[in-house]
Symmetry: C2
Subunit: 234 residues, 2 copies
């Protein structure tokens, strides 16, 4: 099933596609004026629309019908994660996390983060693709890379519960006990864990220690179990 992502709306009941989507629509899929296509807007709506302009630089389609998509989730989940050395792993997490309804991703650079560069635009494309594939309502917000110190400061005033999943053997809240929360931020560290200073800084700024179980999980698996845990228990 081919679904297009709306770029903008004309205000006259028409949807406009981006140059990239338009090129794909006309040159690859060979749609013509009069063809009916499926479109989502990435913020909760699905449209059936008829192509009125089949221009590979900018397609326009007239909305025939629309409906709300995606189930209203009872929670908002923000996953803040240290980028992995192997970019495939984070890209996989973004794809799976998007399918599982993660609302926001941040990429947090810690002392032991092995890869400080983040291909944010690529991550956004992966998320868009996953949203189309699963006909999700909403594309997750994908934030630029940020140091852990700046991230903790940035989140200082945020409402909702904040958790840091680290490996120090102290008393922690279990994941299963937070699955009924409504607004959640989970901070996941690099393979070598956060430093004690990073953990102390987080805990002094409202982050509670979170346990994701007894076994060692890869960074992206940790992100996945959080996303899936909430989705499974909704």
């Amino acid at each position: 099933m081919q679904i297009f992502l709306a770029h903008s709306f004309s205000g006259h009941g028409e949807v406009l596609l981006s140059p990239e989507e338009s090129k794909h629509c006309v040159k690859v899929l060979r749609h013509k004026v009069g063809h009916v296509i499926d479109i989502i807007d990435g913020i909760g709506n699905f449209y059936i629309a008829e192509l009125t302009v089949a221009d590979p630089k900018q397609c326009v389609a007239r909305i025939i019908s629309q409906r709300a998509v995606g189930v209203k989730k009872p929670y908002y989940l923000h996953i803040a994660i240290s980028p992995t050395k192997n970019a495939d792993r984070i890209e996989w997490l973004i794809e799976k996390g998007t399918e599982l309804g993660v609302d926001e991703f941040s990429f947090v650079i810690c002392k032991r983060t092995e890869k400080t560069g983040t291909k944010i635009e690529r991550f956004r494309k992966i998320a868009e693709s996953a949203v189309k594939q699963s006909i999700q309502g909403v594309i997750p917000k994908i934030n630029d890379g940020i140091t852990i110190k700046d991230f903790i400061a940035k989140e200082k005033g945020s409402k909702g519960k904040k958790y840091i999943a680290h490996c120090l053997p102290i008393k922690k809240t279990d994941l299963k006990n937070i699955l009924n929360e409504k607004e959640i931020l989970v901070l996941i560290g690099p393979e070598g864990d956060f430093t004690e200073e990073e953990i102390a800084l987080a805990q002094m700024n409202g982050f509670e220690a979170l346990s994701l179980g007894e076994t060692r999980l890869r960074t992206e698996t940790a992100g996945l179990i959080v996303a899936a845990g909430f989705k499974a228990c909704v």
Copy 2:
């Protein structure tokens, strides 16, 4: 951290490595007699052992100490899944599923399965690698490919609860409501879903309909959400 997988035991307090692991031990990692290495046996034990024979065809190590590893899980989870067209996706599921404690994988060929060949040996290597990486106790059982009809017949006498996650809009049990079960089999179909005949056959043979949520999930994501749901709620 380099962990080796034990091939066999001498019966005299010694562990033997496979030819492959031995070659890696001696030729790549350059271990010599007297070096101390970490070994798991894939069935719940972790050993610290001293190399007594550093032969690239067969290494032998004398056990210095051993301990149980992996947390005893209160459940046994068997995921039976239709192999995906893109082998990477199933390989991710095996790697992540193993980290998340899945006990057994079966590959079930349905009418709409797009790829009938399964690289079982490769899947086993991936599972072994994931077990070493996460120092899990137990390597999941990885069964050969089987048709859905034969699989349903094979599981006829099995104890534990059996579920089929299909997309027909009938009344189903929610995943969150089965997370306290102790012995579970979940059957997940191809991207095009099971046929009505396959669903009927399963339901006539003890499989209950399971819902994994309202949004459409890729086959391997469905497997992940089941694995992670149980792991998160243990």
